[in-house]
Symmetry: C2
Subunit: 733 residues, 2 copies
């Protein structure tokens, strides 16, 4: 009954093992919650909410929706559960949609809001239609309550024969209902919105018919006018920078208001926006007293934290957190000013940051469900081939960090159909190249070639196939497991035979017309490090030939910086990376950044920093991918990472990387791991699961209740018991 | 350039030929309408309207939705067209949804309702989001108008690179927009409803706190109360029969009204119902003056008609027409009392009746689109295997009668994916048997075996594959054409080798565990006649061994009666069929039917006629499939049928079948064919296309401007010119 498997981790060289039986027990317990909650078809609320959120994007006052297929909820839904009742009970029913209620196949007249269920074993069905919103129910009796143990389907296939006999010979998969935290009948899923809190400007400059307001830092929400009066037009020009707000012709976001108030009114804008500065211009007939705003936020509790002796690093960590807070909304979005969309590649990094800050599972799940949408698959996620693959790899990480099997079991069919799409697009050599409709992104980088078959895409494809093999096992698809594993290993072998160039000591960028090109870029080389696809010799070679080689095109986005620095950390280059963090993120702070940017090039000057996509203020100054120090500091300095699913086992490998001391917490499913580390002392509070402290020390570490294993010269391992405190003396190298 | 092909017709032995070039010219002309009209993604309005209509079903006051997947519109839609303008023009824009407007890729600010387009060649894009309703636009300038020449997609896949350059490397199929007759900006598709007209009862009986109202005949619509006053409960019990209305406990449809009016009010029920009788019961505190109703109807103009010397047949024809009128609504539905749903097998017969009465193409298209829904295919249409096949065969007929290529070209991908679903469910012998989730219907018939592989299902499958081959050719899928044709011919051969029993002179009903069963039923034998799958010897043998053999289980539904009588007519048994029509449909009239029933068994007595499905009033007394005399009289007595697509060629083969004289019109795409026939004279007015009169006569027929070809003893053919009148003398056999 105890299945053991091993799988390569991204971002490390450690294999992990897991016990399915144990995990199944732990993680299905959640499914038997005692409280009634609103339920729906899994994924449907998420898709619907994503549609609402993403359609709030405007560009200079114009509605700006996505350019890929927007999916929709199933409009007709059947919910059911069988209950065994010792006594009859009264049950209240709340529904979003038109509905009927059946007990043991017999319908109540009308759409009852309260029913009585007799004692005994009974099946309750509620069938709901809702075109505009997600069909959802909330049921509350004593034992009869709605939760994720209810089963749902969009096709119940029940019919009668000529004698009136009802048959249900459905082959339909009944799925466990989806839910979140809508635990009161009044908290209707369709009415969901993020909380708001009031914020005031730090300065307001009124000149004639215009007002310039500065909120002191990057923020997001709804502008509110106080004492608005008169008749005429009013325009609001939003700016992440003062320059942008003062540029009515080039600012990215604006609003027009037709004012016609004969007495002073409070007026709140309907659409939220991102800004620090707001420039309000109005006709002579219009006036207003003051301006404030409603800050809109997700309000997830911060569980992880980091501090150290270096105040610049502390500031970088804090601004990273704030950047990440602003971009963690209904979903993990890319940036708050422009797109406000869910981009799979961007979201993938947010998942990882989240595991070191909020450890909020629902936002990860929601984001993955919204990205995946529904069948049929008609294009890559966000139209981008690499973004499809990040979606798969994100599931891999999700499982590793949370240990949750339910999500994978529930959505494995959607993984399969997306992978079928990818497999169907391979060329005659079994490789993926850009077909019409495919966007090959990789990174914003001048002149990056997208021609032919890119090594980077094949690498991500291979990792995605490995994820499929893992998930096939979890979902009980044993045939699929073998097939995906074979596809993955074949592809990996092909990647090395086709792209590895021994003279260059690197994977080349691409293959055109069946031939290796000369082009070496960082992307596939750095991913191969933390995918553990290189052998040790290759890793060392690539570190010098690519990673630390300034003649290879530099990375200018924090997006790919994330992976570049991760690869270096995975090779033990924390000292080097610390300097890079201070120079790159510290560089933005020196320019006055209050949140981290979509792109940063230290060679640019002044307003040049705000331009992108050929637009004067096209760049987002608050981009989720700018917040990666959260992840790097937690994972590679505090050094905490799961080594089997859900932190059933984990390692702690603190590396000061040039700091005098550091301290912080890393959240896990069963609590937060505390790590303090200076050059002589390490203090740790552990959680459930089997921990291993790995450290380098000039002396053999000492402490209470520890057994020290010597791994190699100056390298030690100490097993850590669950829920324990340790204080260890050592001497940093 | 002139492709010629031949294909077997259902319901006849004639091959037809068609010229694609000619037809393409004729039928794409429609696409260049001069009037602005509301447009949408093809199929989406239809699916959305079907959802609305089908969800109006209630059973004893309870919402009763379908038990298969209800599809949904695409919520985000891009519409575009390129215009060449000699002069700038002002264009008005009306949209259902949030939207933006672009000219040559550049967006207007906000959501403009009027724009100016400069002279020259310009591309206009309108992108619309609407979750609750179908995204639709109405655009009206001088040359710039919205019509079905606009292109639409649900994924435009336009993106920009890091320099801001926009790319559109979409591989998406842009489809021609869908439209109907929403030719004014005020006629918004989402607001569509059928017209209403007032009807009064023929009798009202008031006794104490109840009123029994008789509308004199089967009808459909909204009950209206006049002078409703007081406080208390009121119940409405609807009845297709007096007995049903008087049975509050067993009537199929009822409404409850909470009355709380302190002065007399007009009150109209919100949901339409089918009824002849209405029994209204109310609390002592409630009163009302009188009751009337609003009749709801599609109002399609009747183009076909039939009359003859036999008044019973004339009455049968009229009641058939009324039955069909009641069931021809937003879509062709099964029956107005109970399901009010679109059932593919029922609708298939309505298509055929429609070709002989309304010739209304939009209702056929809407019905087929609503039935098909969207990908992915997760079950058979209406969950019924045979109903999937009727859908394919319905397209075949649609093409034959209308000649319209556009529909097939547009929806061929949805045909393919549905056929893929069928093909994927074949067993190891390449046959279809019932898998979990499949309903094998065939007919309501006691004890009908559904075990093993049914010959009937294989026959329909084979015909569907032939349809796919035809449509593949039309859609330009030449590879598919060959593949489907091969699959069809292989399956046909298999059907005869596996099911034909020479001793029984019949196809047997089924095959269980790889062996022919002994069971012979009428279904596959009669279909093989008008599918022309039998050779002449088999046909004659089957006529006696099955069709006219009383020991073979009888058919009791007008549904299968349709095909049984069609098969007999196709074999020249019009005399016999006329007697059957008089006895079967005449039988219902003698029992007081004002519309034709779902099922009729002359052996039953009194109220027994109203029962079905184990329910006292379960039977529908107004069922579309009861109206088949419309089709039989038009096609097999007046004898008019297309012999190539869209009546480019057609035949007229009048057969009196025992009547003294008959007269009538049959609609075609280019006008109505008039036929008068008695025993000595035939008068015909023709339409466009090449007609052929076929007749049996004791003498050689004579008349002006005709050339008579002698086919065999007493059998003659006369070519008919387009748009001409003929009077022919002959002597009926």
């Amino acid at each position: 009954m105890l299945a053991m498997r091993s799988f390569f981790l991204p971002g490390g060289t450690i294999k992990y093992r897991l016990s399915f039986c144990l995990l199944l027990t732990v993680f299905t317990m959640n499914a038997f919650a005692q409280n009634a909650t609103w339920i729906w078809y899994p994924g449907d609320f998420e898709i619907s909410l994503a549609n609402k959120m993403q359609n709030r994007r405007t560009e200079r006052g114009t509605f700006f929706p996505v350019f890929w297929k927007m999916d929709n909820h199933y409009v007709l839904m059947d919910f059911h559960k069988v209950f065994q009742l010792d006594q009859p009970e009264k049950v209240s029913i709340f529904v979003e949609g038109e509905y009927n209620v059946k007990i043991d196949g017999k319908a109540f007249e009308g759409s009852p809001t309260e029913i009585e269920i007799p004692a005994g074993k009974h099946k309750i069905n509620i069938k709901v239609f809702n075109q505009a919103q997600v069909p959802a129910i909330f049921v509350k009796g004593t034992k009869v309550i709605s939760d994720s143990t209810w089963l749902v389907t969009f096709e119940d296939k029940e019919w009668i024969d000529e004698t009136g006999k009802t048959s249900d010979i459905s082959a339909t998969q009944w799925l466990n209902a989806g839910s979140w935290d809508f635990d009161s009948p009044l908290r209707r899923p369709s009415q969901f919105s993020l909380p708001l809190k009031k914020q005031s400007p730090v300065s307001t400059t009124k000149t004639g018919n215009s007002i310039l307001v500065d909120f002191g830092k990057e923020t997001f929400g709804y502008i509110q006018f106080h004492g608005l009066i008169g008749k005429g037009n009013l325009s609001i020009y939003y700016g992440e920078s003062r320059e942008e707000a003062l540029s009515p012709d080039h600012c990215e976001a604006l609003d027009r208001v037709k004012v016609d108030y004969s007495f002073k009114l409070e007026h709140r804008q309907f659409l939220s926006k991102a800004f620090r500065f707001v420039n309000i211009q109005f006709d002579p007939g219009v006036n207003l007293d003051s301006v404030s705003m409603w800050y809109e936020y997700a309000g997830l509790p911060e569980r992880g934290w980091f501090k150290c002796n270096d105040e610049e690093i502390n500031r970088i960590y804090d601004v990273s957190k704030y950047t990440f807070e602003l971009n963690t909304r209904e979903f993990f979005i890319d940036g708050i000013k422009r797109d406000r969309w869910i981009w799979s590649g961007d979201a993938y990094q947010s998942y990882l940051m989240n595991y070191y800050l909020y450890f909020d599972r629902p936002t990860v799940e929601r984001t993955m469900l919204a990205l995946r949408g529904k069948d049929p698959v008609t294009g890559h996620i966000n139209t981008i081939m690499d973004y499809t693959f990040y979606w798969f790899i994100g599931i891999y990480d999700y499982y590793l960090y949370t240990g949750d099997l339910t999500f994978i079991q529930q959505f494995y069919p959607r993984m399969q159909s997306l992978m079928d799409y990818c497999l169907s697009r391979r060329n005659k050599d079994g490789l993926l190249e850009g077909l019409p409709g495919d966007w090959l992104f990789i990174d914003w980088a001048a002149g990056l070639s997208k021609k032919g078959e890119l090594s980077f895409e094949q690498l991500l494809f291979c990792r995605s196939l490995e994820t499929m093999a893992l998930c096939a096992g979890i979902a009980g698809d044993h045939k699929g497991k073998g097939e995906y594993a074979k596809l993955a290993s074949d592809l990996k072998a092909k990647v090395f035979s086709l792209y590895w160039n021994p003279a260059k000591n690197a994977l080349v960028h691409s293959r055109i017309d069946g031939k290796q090109t000369d082009n070496v870029t960082r992307y596939s080389n750095m991913f191969s490090i933390f995918f553990n696809y290189f052998n040790d010799a290759q890793k060392q070679a690539v570190k010098n030939s690519v990673l630390l080689n300034d003649s290879i095109q530099k990375i200018t986005t924090p997006y790919m910086r994330f992976y570049e620095l991760e690869a270096l950390c995975a090779m033990g280059e924390q000292d080097h990376v610390m300097k890079e963090i201070k120079s790159y993120w510290g560089g933005m702070l020196k320019l006055g950044a209050t949140s981290f940017w979509e792109e940063y090039n230290p060679d640019k000057k002044g307003e040049e920093h705000y331009a992108m996509y050929g637009r004067q203020f096209g760049k987002s100054l608050c981009h989720a991918w700018g917040a990666s120090p959260i992840y790097l500091l937690g994972r590679y300095y505090l050094g905490v990472q799961p080594t089997s699913a859900g932190y059933a086992a984990y390692s702690i490998q603190p590396v000061l990387g040039g700091l005098q001391w550091m301290e912080g917490k890393v959240p896990t499913p069963s609590g937060d791991i505390l790590v303090y580390c200076d050059k002589k002392k390490i203090r740790i509070s552990t959680v459930k699961g089997n921990g291993t402290l790995k450290l380098k020390s000039k002396i053999k570490p000492t402490g209470k209740n520890i057994q020290v294993n010597i791994i190699s010269r100056d390298v030690y391992e100490i097993s850590l018991n669950p829920d324990s405190n340790y204080e260890i003396s050592y001497s940093a190298l």
